[in-house]
Symmetry: C2
Subunit: 128 residues, 2 copies
DNA sequence: ACACAGATTCGACATATGTCAAAGCATCGG
DNA sequence: CCGATGCTTTGACATATGTCGAATCTGTGT
Protein backbone atom coordinates (compact mmCIF):
# COMPACT_ATOMS: atom_id res chain seq x y z
CA UNK A 1 0.00 0.00 0.00
CA UNK A 2 2.85 2.39 0.68
CA UNK A 3 4.96 1.50 -2.32
CA UNK A 4 2.51 2.70 -4.94
CA UNK A 5 4.04 4.56 -7.79
CA UNK A 6 3.32 8.26 -7.72
CA UNK A 7 1.45 8.73 -10.97
CA UNK A 8 -1.20 10.89 -9.36
CA UNK A 9 -3.00 12.74 -12.08
CA UNK A 10 -3.05 16.45 -11.48
CA UNK A 11 -6.25 17.93 -12.92
CA UNK A 12 -5.80 20.28 -15.84
CA UNK A 13 -9.00 22.25 -15.71
CA UNK A 14 -8.06 24.36 -12.70
CA UNK A 15 -4.70 25.39 -11.28
CA UNK A 16 -3.71 23.37 -8.23
CA UNK A 17 -3.53 26.38 -5.98
CA UNK A 18 -5.63 29.49 -6.01
CA UNK A 19 -3.69 32.68 -6.23
CA UNK A 20 -4.85 33.37 -2.70
CA UNK A 21 -6.50 36.66 -3.42
CA UNK A 22 -8.95 37.52 -0.66
CA UNK A 23 -12.55 38.35 -1.43
CA UNK A 24 -11.96 41.91 -0.26
CA UNK A 25 -8.74 43.25 -1.66
CA UNK A 26 -7.87 46.44 0.25
CA UNK A 27 -5.21 47.55 -2.24
CA UNK A 28 -7.73 47.70 -5.08
CA UNK A 29 -10.00 50.68 -5.38
CA UNK A 30 -12.27 48.77 -7.72
CA UNK A 31 -15.70 50.14 -6.93
CA UNK A 32 -17.33 46.86 -7.93
CA UNK A 33 -15.29 44.88 -5.41
CA UNK A 34 -13.85 41.53 -6.53
CA UNK A 35 -14.02 40.94 -10.28
CA UNK A 36 -16.71 38.73 -11.70
CA UNK A 37 -14.06 36.36 -13.04
CA UNK A 38 -12.35 36.01 -9.67
CA UNK A 39 -15.68 35.54 -7.93
CA UNK A 40 -16.61 32.80 -10.37
CA UNK A 41 -13.26 31.07 -10.01
CA UNK A 42 -13.63 31.00 -6.24
CA UNK A 43 -17.25 29.91 -6.49
CA UNK A 44 -16.27 26.91 -8.62
CA UNK A 45 -14.00 25.61 -5.85
CA UNK A 46 -16.50 26.30 -3.12
CA UNK A 47 -19.27 24.65 -5.13
CA UNK A 48 -17.16 21.52 -5.42
CA UNK A 49 -16.91 21.46 -1.64
CA UNK A 50 -20.49 22.44 -0.93
CA UNK A 51 -22.20 19.06 -1.01
CA UNK A 52 -22.70 16.60 1.84
CA UNK A 53 -21.76 13.59 -0.26
CA UNK A 54 -18.52 15.19 -1.42
CA UNK A 55 -17.63 16.33 2.10
CA UNK A 56 -18.12 12.79 3.38
CA UNK A 57 -16.08 11.57 0.44
CA UNK A 58 -13.23 13.89 1.36
CA UNK A 59 -13.54 12.81 4.97
CA UNK A 60 -13.11 9.17 3.99
CA UNK A 61 -10.17 10.01 1.73
CA UNK A 62 -8.52 12.00 4.52
CA UNK A 63 -8.57 8.82 6.60
CA UNK A 64 -6.55 7.10 3.86
CA UNK A 65 -4.12 9.88 3.10
CA UNK A 66 -1.26 7.71 1.90
CA UNK A 67 -3.13 4.99 0.08
CA UNK A 68 -6.19 6.57 -1.45
CA UNK A 69 -9.43 4.69 -2.06
CA UNK A 70 -11.38 3.34 -5.02
CA UNK A 71 -14.88 4.06 -6.24
CA UNK A 72 -15.94 0.50 -5.42
CA UNK A 73 -14.65 0.86 -1.89
CA UNK A 74 -16.25 4.23 -1.27
CA UNK A 75 -19.73 3.68 -2.70
CA UNK A 76 -21.05 1.32 0.02
CA UNK A 77 -19.62 3.53 2.76
CA UNK A 78 -21.69 6.44 1.46
CA UNK A 79 -24.72 4.30 0.61
CA UNK A 80 -24.57 5.69 -2.93
CA UNK A 81 -24.29 3.97 -6.28
CA UNK A 82 -20.93 3.69 -7.97
CA UNK A 83 -21.88 5.98 -10.86
CA UNK A 84 -22.89 8.64 -8.38
CA UNK A 85 -19.64 8.34 -6.45
CA UNK A 86 -17.72 8.39 -9.72
CA UNK A 87 -19.55 11.57 -10.64
CA UNK A 88 -18.68 13.25 -7.34
CA UNK A 89 -15.07 12.20 -7.59
CA UNK A 90 -15.00 13.69 -11.07
CA UNK A 91 -16.26 16.98 -9.67
CA UNK A 92 -13.63 16.94 -6.93
CA UNK A 93 -10.96 16.05 -9.48
CA UNK A 94 -11.96 18.91 -11.78
CA UNK A 95 -11.68 21.40 -8.95
CA UNK A 96 -8.30 20.09 -7.89
CA UNK A 97 -9.42 18.79 -4.50
CA UNK A 98 -8.45 15.19 -5.26
CA UNK A 99 -6.01 13.41 -7.54
CA UNK A 100 -6.25 9.95 -9.06
CA UNK A 101 -3.84 7.13 -9.77
CA UNK A 102 -4.73 4.07 -11.81
CA UNK A 103 -3.29 0.85 -10.38
CA UNK A 104 -4.22 -1.92 -12.78
CA UNK A 105 -7.97 -2.03 -13.11
CA UNK A 106 -8.73 -0.01 -10.03
CA UNK A 107 -8.37 3.75 -9.70
CA UNK A 108 -7.22 5.18 -6.40
CA UNK A 109 -8.29 8.67 -5.40
CA UNK A 110 -6.50 10.73 -2.78
CA UNK A 111 -7.16 14.13 -1.33
CA UNK A 112 -4.94 17.13 -2.20
CA UNK A 113 -4.57 18.94 1.12
CA UNK A 114 -2.94 21.99 -0.46
CA UNK A 115 -6.09 22.68 -2.45
CA UNK A 116 -8.22 22.74 0.69
CA UNK A 117 -5.59 24.86 2.43
CA UNK A 118 -5.68 27.30 -0.46
CA UNK A 119 -9.42 27.82 -0.02
CA UNK A 120 -8.99 28.16 3.74
CA UNK A 121 -6.30 30.78 3.15
CA UNK A 122 -8.48 32.84 0.84
CA UNK A 123 -11.28 32.88 3.39
CA UNK A 124 -8.87 33.63 6.22
CA UNK A 125 -7.23 36.53 4.39
CA UNK A 126 -10.69 37.86 3.60
CA UNK A 127 -11.51 38.45 7.23
CA UNK A 128 -8.18 38.78 8.96
CA UNK B 1 -23.05 56.71 9.23
CA UNK B 2 -20.97 55.77 12.24
CA UNK B 3 -23.63 56.52 14.85
CA UNK B 4 -26.08 53.89 13.71
CA UNK B 5 -27.71 51.99 16.51
CA UNK B 6 -26.52 48.41 16.76
CA UNK B 7 -29.72 46.47 16.25
CA UNK B 8 -28.11 44.01 13.90
CA UNK B 9 -30.32 41.00 13.59
CA UNK B 10 -28.49 37.79 14.28
CA UNK B 11 -29.95 34.99 12.19
CA UNK B 12 -31.74 32.27 14.11
CA UNK B 13 -31.66 29.42 11.64
CA UNK B 14 -28.00 28.58 12.09
CA UNK B 15 -25.62 29.14 15.00
CA UNK B 16 -23.35 32.10 14.46
CA UNK B 17 -20.20 30.07 14.63
CA UNK B 18 -19.59 26.55 13.50
CA UNK B 19 -18.30 24.25 16.18
CA UNK B 20 -15.08 24.17 14.24
CA UNK B 21 -14.96 20.42 13.83
CA UNK B 22 -12.67 19.54 10.94
CA UNK B 23 -13.87 17.34 8.11
CA UNK B 24 -11.53 14.60 9.27
CA UNK B 25 -11.74 14.22 13.02
CA UNK B 26 -8.76 12.12 14.13
CA UNK B 27 -10.17 11.44 17.62
CA UNK B 28 -13.20 9.70 16.16
CA UNK B 29 -12.91 6.12 14.98
CA UNK B 30 -16.15 6.44 13.08
CA UNK B 31 -15.64 4.20 10.07
CA UNK B 32 -17.97 6.35 7.98
CA UNK B 33 -15.90 9.48 8.54
CA UNK B 34 -17.72 12.71 9.33
CA UNK B 35 -21.38 12.24 10.21
CA UNK B 36 -24.01 12.95 7.61
CA UNK B 37 -25.47 15.67 9.83
CA UNK B 38 -22.13 17.44 10.26
CA UNK B 39 -21.41 17.15 6.55
CA UNK B 40 -24.78 18.67 5.74
CA UNK B 41 -24.33 21.49 8.24
CA UNK B 42 -20.98 22.39 6.72
CA UNK B 43 -22.35 22.05 3.21
CA UNK B 44 -25.11 24.55 3.98
CA UNK B 45 -22.55 27.21 4.87
CA UNK B 46 -20.34 26.44 1.92
CA UNK B 47 -23.32 26.46 -0.43
CA UNK B 48 -24.21 29.93 0.79
CA UNK B 49 -20.73 31.05 -0.15
CA UNK B 50 -20.52 29.12 -3.41
CA UNK B 51 -22.10 31.58 -5.80
CA UNK B 52 -20.45 34.37 -7.79
CA UNK B 53 -23.20 36.87 -7.03
CA UNK B 54 -23.02 36.23 -3.31
CA UNK B 55 -19.24 36.41 -3.29
CA UNK B 56 -19.36 39.77 -5.04
CA UNK B 57 -22.04 40.82 -2.58
CA UNK B 58 -19.78 39.93 0.33
CA UNK B 59 -16.94 41.75 -1.35
CA UNK B 60 -19.00 44.92 -1.58
CA UNK B 61 -20.13 44.58 2.02
CA UNK B 62 -16.57 44.06 3.17
CA UNK B 63 -15.77 47.46 1.66
CA UNK B 64 -18.42 48.99 3.94
CA UNK B 65 -17.63 47.12 7.11
CA UNK B 66 -18.87 49.71 9.55
CA UNK B 67 -21.89 51.08 7.70
CA UNK B 68 -23.36 48.21 5.77
CA UNK B 69 -25.29 48.65 2.53
CA UNK B 70 -28.86 48.41 1.31
CA UNK B 71 -30.49 46.27 -1.35
CA UNK B 72 -31.19 49.31 -3.47
CA UNK B 73 -27.56 50.37 -3.30
CA UNK B 74 -26.17 46.93 -4.08
CA UNK B 75 -28.42 45.87 -6.97
CA UNK B 76 -27.01 48.25 -9.63
CA UNK B 77 -23.43 47.46 -8.60
CA UNK B 78 -24.07 43.79 -9.34
CA UNK B 79 -26.23 44.44 -12.40
CA UNK B 80 -28.95 42.36 -10.83
CA UNK B 81 -32.55 43.13 -9.98
CA UNK B 82 -33.48 44.12 -6.45
CA UNK B 83 -35.55 40.97 -5.84
CA UNK B 84 -32.57 38.85 -6.85
CA UNK B 85 -30.23 40.73 -4.54
CA UNK B 86 -32.77 40.48 -1.76
CA UNK B 87 -32.92 36.75 -2.33
CA UNK B 88 -29.14 36.38 -2.13
CA UNK B 89 -28.97 38.51 1.00
CA UNK B 90 -31.61 36.27 2.53
CA UNK B 91 -29.46 33.24 1.78
CA UNK B 92 -26.41 34.89 3.32
CA UNK B 93 -28.48 35.92 6.32
CA UNK B 94 -29.80 32.40 6.86
CA UNK B 95 -26.31 30.99 6.87
CA UNK B 96 -25.06 33.62 9.31
CA UNK B 97 -22.67 35.27 6.89
CA UNK B 98 -24.37 38.67 7.09
CA UNK B 99 -26.55 40.50 9.58
CA UNK B 100 -29.18 43.14 8.95
CA UNK B 101 -30.32 46.33 10.64
CA UNK B 102 -33.43 48.25 9.65
CA UNK B 103 -32.94 52.01 9.72
CA UNK B 104 -36.27 53.57 8.86
CA UNK B 105 -37.39 52.31 5.50
CA UNK B 106 -34.01 51.03 4.39
CA UNK B 107 -32.36 47.83 5.59
CA UNK B 108 -28.61 47.82 6.00
CA UNK B 109 -26.70 44.59 5.60
CA UNK B 110 -23.24 44.02 6.98
CA UNK B 111 -20.88 41.08 6.79
CA UNK B 112 -20.19 38.91 9.86
CA UNK B 113 -16.44 38.27 9.64
CA UNK B 114 -16.50 35.65 12.40
CA UNK B 115 -18.76 33.45 10.30
CA UNK B 116 -16.31 33.49 7.40
CA UNK B 117 -13.43 32.92 9.81
CA UNK B 118 -15.27 29.92 11.25
CA UNK B 119 -15.48 28.30 7.84
CA UNK B 120 -11.84 29.12 7.16
CA UNK B 121 -10.90 27.52 10.48
CA UNK B 122 -12.79 24.31 9.72
CA UNK B 123 -11.03 23.98 6.38
CA UNK B 124 -7.67 24.84 7.89
CA UNK B 125 -8.02 22.31 10.71
CA UNK B 126 -9.02 19.73 8.14
CA UNK B 127 -5.66 19.83 6.44
CA UNK B 128 -3.26 21.07 9.07
C1' DA C 1 -55.70 58.51 6.04
C1' DC C 2 -52.87 58.91 2.19
C1' DA C 3 -49.07 58.65 -0.85
C1' DC C 4 -44.43 57.43 -1.35
C1' DA C 5 -39.90 54.94 -1.03
C1' DG C 6 -37.66 50.92 -0.13
C1' DA C 7 -37.72 45.89 0.67
C1' DT C 8 -39.62 41.48 0.26
C1' DT C 9 -42.60 37.79 -1.44
C1' DC C 10 -44.95 35.42 -5.26
C1' DG C 11 -45.33 33.14 -9.69
C1' DA C 12 -42.99 31.68 -13.46
C1' DC C 13 -39.25 30.20 -16.04
C1' DA C 14 -34.74 28.28 -17.52
C1' DT C 15 -30.87 26.05 -16.03
C1' DA C 16 -28.04 23.27 -12.96
C1' DT C 17 -27.50 19.42 -9.88
C1' DG C 18 -27.79 14.82 -7.60
C1' DT C 19 -29.20 10.32 -8.33
C1' DC C 20 -29.71 5.80 -10.48
C1' DA C 21 -29.97 1.82 -13.95
C1' DA C 22 -28.13 0.36 -18.10
C1' DA C 23 -24.77 0.45 -21.46
C1' DG C 24 -19.98 1.18 -22.69
C1' DC C 25 -14.66 1.26 -21.70
C1' DA C 26 -10.36 -0.29 -19.95
C1' DT C 27 -7.26 -3.50 -17.87
C1' DC C 28 -5.75 -7.80 -16.41
C1' DG C 29 -5.46 -13.02 -16.36
C1' DG C 30 -6.32 -17.11 -18.65
C1' DC D 1 -8.69 -13.62 -28.05
C1' DC D 2 -12.18 -13.81 -24.20
C1' DG D 3 -14.14 -13.37 -20.05
C1' DA D 4 -14.14 -11.05 -15.64
C1' DT D 5 -13.64 -6.98 -12.82
C1' DG D 6 -13.77 -2.27 -11.90
C1' DC D 7 -14.70 2.46 -13.62
C1' DT D 8 -17.00 5.85 -16.37
C1' DT D 9 -20.42 7.60 -19.58
C1' DT D 10 -25.12 8.03 -21.11
C1' DG D 11 -29.99 8.80 -20.62
C1' DA D 12 -33.55 9.90 -17.74
C1' DC D 13 -35.66 11.89 -13.93
C1' DA D 14 -36.75 14.73 -9.83
C1' DT D 15 -35.35 18.45 -7.30
C1' DA D 16 -32.89 22.71 -6.35
C1' DT D 17 -31.28 27.17 -7.77
C1' DG D 18 -30.81 31.82 -9.98
C1' DT D 19 -33.32 35.23 -12.20
C1' DC D 20 -36.92 38.52 -13.24
C1' DG D 21 -41.50 41.27 -13.32
C1' DA D 22 -45.51 42.04 -10.76
C1' DA D 23 -47.70 42.25 -6.57
C1' DT D 24 -47.33 42.94 -1.68
C1' DC D 25 -45.61 44.50 2.57
C1' DT D 26 -43.35 48.11 5.87
C1' DG D 27 -42.16 52.18 7.58
C1' DT D 28 -42.08 57.67 6.97
C1' DG D 29 -43.83 61.84 6.38
C1' DT D 30 -47.69 64.93 5.08
Amino acid sequence: MSNLCDHWTVPKTLPLLLDARPICCPTLEDPAGISDADATALAVRLKALADPARIRLLSLLLDRLGEGASTRELAPLLALSEPTVSHHLHTLLNSGLVAKDRQGTTVYYRVVPEAIQAIARVLHLTCC
